[in-house]
């Protein structure tokens, strides 16, 4: 049959153009003002429907120049900045800083102060992990239940901190050489009571989330990271241990008095989001174990500062890198002294920055909802990433 156009032109055969159904990728902004970004993190996702094809993270919204500010202050004056980097684990960050200065200046600290520091830092680890449980629960989709349940126990710990040092978040309590003042008289009994509450709280979280079918469905095999990748990215802390590497600075590069306690390091198998959650949950239980032992061993009285401290701290010229196990991983302070009373250089190695850098390969190829869960499982504190 001969086909003709309107002009009378003869078409030999109908023209069929074959092409696939084309869709347009969409750029979607997660952050900086998005409920799931835990602060001011921005992530531009290129999505094909619900599948993430590319992810570009942007950081730096919280940059305050803490390193440079520390270099223009006395060694002891810059302590407050440490509270404001990792504000969820301020005691731990303070501890790294004072430890670095003490080692640089060669200051010996009394045993009782060491115990109080360790106890407060471990409590702060619990505080931080409770925060993770709450925020992560919200990311996965609990309508606030995980959040309010964990905040109940957080309040107890914060009450204890308030009784010890007068503040609930920005403590500024450790000093180079020891502590600012003695903890209150009932510190040990209060701590034991708080620990009882915390153990109940850990059980509550466990019952709410661990075995929930929907929770497992959302977290299993999401954001998988192999041990090789984790090490290559410099990932530390619970994320590294969830990937199967039993690396914990409290053991592998012992500092303070951690060698006096018996506890265990939880290690995941698959390196997915669910393992990260489980590792943190188990880590909380181990923290409780450490705390119980430390509270029993702590000397009931004694000095909390060395007898003689120089009025102006002038360490010999030299450098030090002090690193410790923060709730989120290896928090390090690199400090160079030129013999004056101000550090010549302070560099903070923040665990979240490195953990966050591993986000991109975790989210590409997954679903949009998985990207949110993977981001939540990193447990970022943006103040610490940007410093």
């Amino acid at each position: 049959m001969v086909q003709r156009t309107f002009e009378g032109e003869v078409l030999t055969e109908p023209v069929v153009v074959e092409r696939e159904f084309e869709t347009v990728d969409m750029n979607i902004n997660i952050g900086p003002q998005h409920p799931a970004t835990h602060g001011v993190f921005r992530m531009v996702l290129t999505v094909d429907g619900e599948i993430v094809k590319d992810a570009i993270p942007y950081i730096g919204y919280m940059h305050r120049g803490g390193e440079k500010l520390s270099e223009n202050l006395d060694y002891r004056g810059a302590l407050g900045y440490q509270d404001r980097t990792d504000y969820l684990a301020a005691f731990n960050s303070e501890w790294v800083y004072v430890n670095a200065v003490e080692r640089l200046a060669g200051v010996e600290i009394p045993e009782r102060a060491e115990y109080v520091r360790l106890i407060l830092a471990e409590f702060n680890r619990l505080l931080s992990h409770f925060m993770f449980m709450g925020a992560f629960g919200t990311d996965v989709g609990y309508f606030g239940t995980a959040f309010t349940w964990t905040f109940k126990e957080r309040e107890r710990i914060q009450d204890l901190f308030e009784a010890v040092c007068g503040d609930r978040i920005m403590y500024n309590y450790f000093r180079v050489g020891g502590l600012a003042w003695d903890p209150h008289e009932t510190f040990v009994e209060d701590s034991h009571w708080v620990l009882d509450q915390v153990e109940t709280g850990i059980g509550d979280v466990d019952e709410l989330m661990t075995d929930n079918e929907v929770f497992v469905a959302r977290c299993r095999d999401v954001g998988v990271m192999s041990a090789e990748d984790a090490i290559s990215f410099g990932v530390t802390g619970p994320m590294l241990r969830a990937s199967g590497v039993p690396f914990d600075l409290r053991v592998d590069e012992p500092y303070s008095i951690y060698d006096r306690f018996h506890w265990e390091i939880p290690v995941g198998e698959r390196g997915d989001v669910y393992d990260r959650y489980l590792v943190r949950l188990e880590e909380m239980r181990q923290s409780v174990t450490i705390l119980r032992q430390a509270l029993d061993q702590m000397p009931t009285s004694g000095p909390i500062m060395p007898e003689r401290m120089p009025a102006r701290l002038r360490p010999e010229p030299g450098e030090i890198y002090m690193r410790q196990e923060n709730p989120r991983g290896e928090y390090g302070i690199y400090m160079v002294s030129d013999g004056t009373d101000q550090p010549w250089r302070v560099k903070m190695r923040s665990p979240c920055f490195h953990n966050l850098s591993s986000l991109k390969p975790q989210v590409i190829g997954g679903y949009l909802a998985d990207a949110v869960v993977a981001l939540g499982s990193i447990d970022i504190v943006l103040c610490e990433v940007d410093r």
Binding site: H34, P35, A55, G137, G141, T148, P246, D259, Y367
Partner: protein, 402 residues
């Protein structure tokens, strides 16, 4: 004619119908206020909070205060929004939900109209709801809203099919029973179905149907664990992210009315509505109390699910509907057909449905076991003794960022 019964006056049918419609709209508006208050209080109890306490005695006037705030708030329309789609969407989402109340019986004689294809009407009209949602999603010119709206549309389509098949199965049973002592052609009427449940609620005959219906209802209502169209942590509220003021309030009103509606439907079809267990002779007062008690209990369960479940992912949600619920619904319909064609007794129908339900739960349990893996609950621990770690051979991975 209810109103003429009460007022003792006769009136034209159209005035009667109009009065009933006004009555339903007023009741549902008040009902939405009550439900919002109830939800806030129940969630607060489950979440170790206290909920609203400041407005009125124990916070009972909180919903009124919220409504006043919404009415007086500025109605913002994004400059790039599609004007008509954006402004009409709340009404398109809200009107169908109210229209659905036409055939729903509160008592034996309290309904707007008894339609003999009432169930078909309900699902036909309720399906229009999604048009409003998609209009809102598209008209807002917002990517979060678009994602949320598309999710809502996909979800509504997926879950209406198993629900409708289950309704077919229920109507088959109802027709079989009504053919004995009633009019089988009324099997699609909700009031006739409720009237048939004097001694046996249909949940005993179709337990699988009840479970699938409630799962579908949760999905239709965007309730956890199926709330990804309005997921706060992913799409920031979904299709109504750009709405403010009373337009947003209309979405909310529609949502809570739909919650009441779905629960009314489930309690009418499966729990015997005003009928079971006291029968039709107890009078209007007790009948309406019975209806409200059943719906209240189920509303509390639905609200409680919000506190205790996280949300599924969209692909898991779709897979659950198409690969699990739909086959079970089809099997239920076929099984009912075979049993009823051979004149099987009611207890056979119930037993088969129970067996299917057990199979469904078993399958879900098995799937979850598989996903979790063996011994997944505990992580292995190593004693904390100092040791040397040797790093495996590391190949650098492309770093994130640009």
């Amino acid at each position: 004619m209810v109103l003429s019964e009460f007022a003792g006056v006769s009136m034209p049918d159209w005035i009667d119908a109009l009065l009933r419609v006004v009555f339903i709209v007023a009741l549902m508006t008040i009902n939405a206020f009550a439900l919002i208050y109830l939800e806030r209080k129940i969630l607060a109890r489950l979440q170790a909070r206290v909920g609203p306490t400041r407005t009125g005695p124990i916070g009972t006037l909180q919903s009124i205060a919220d409504a006043l705030k919404l009415v007086t708030k500025e109605d913002v329309r994004p400059i790039t929004a599609d004007r008509w789609a954006f402004e009409l969407a709340p009404y398109m989402a809200f009107v169908p939900v109210f229209l659905v109340f036409v055939p729903i019986p509160f008592t034996e004689t309290w309904f707007i109209r008894d339609l003999n294809l009432g169930l078909l009407y309900v699902f036909g009209v309720l399906g229009l709801n999604i048009v409003g949602v998609v209009m809102a999603a598209w008209g807002s010119d917002n990517k979060y809203a678009l994602l949320g709206g598309v999710r809502a549309a996909a979800q509504a389509i997926s879950y209406e099919i198993p629900m409708l098949l289950i309704i077919v199965a229920v109507v088959m049973v109802a027709a079989g029973r009504l053919a004995v002592d009633g009019d089988a052609s009324m099997a699609g009427s909700i009031n006739a179905i409720v009237g048939d449940q004097t001694t046996t609620p249909y949940i005993l005959l179709q337990p699988l149907g009840f479970v699938i219906f409630m799962i579908g209802a949760l999905a239709e209502l965007h309730r956890p664990p199926f709330d990804m169209p309005i997921a706060e942590s992913e799409v920031v509220g979904g299709y109504f992210v750009e709405y403010s003021g009373m337009r947003w309030g209309l979405f909310f009103l529609a949502e809570y009315t739909a919650l009441f509606l779905m629960v009314m439907l489930a309690s009418s079809i499966f729990l015997g509505g005003w009928n079971w267990p006291f029968g039709a002779d107890v009078g209007l007062g007790l009948q309406i109390v019975l209806t409200l008690v059943k719906t209240s209990v189920m509303i509390v369960l639905v609200i409680g699910s919000r506190a205790l479940f996280p949300r599924l992912r969209i692909d898991q949600l779709m897979a659950f509907s198409w690969k699990v619920l739909l086959p079970f619904a089809i099997v239920q319909v076929i099984a009912n057909g075979i049993i009823l064609a051979y004149g099987g007794a009611d207890w056979v129908v119930g037993l088969v449905s129970f067996a299917l339900l057990a199979a469904l739960f078993g399958l879900i349990y098995q799937l979850m076991r598989q996903r979790k893996g063996e011994g997944a609950r505990t992580v292995s621990t190593t004693p904390a003794t100092p040791r040397v770690i040797t790093a495996p051979d590391v190949t650098p991975v492309e770093a994130g960022g640009d």
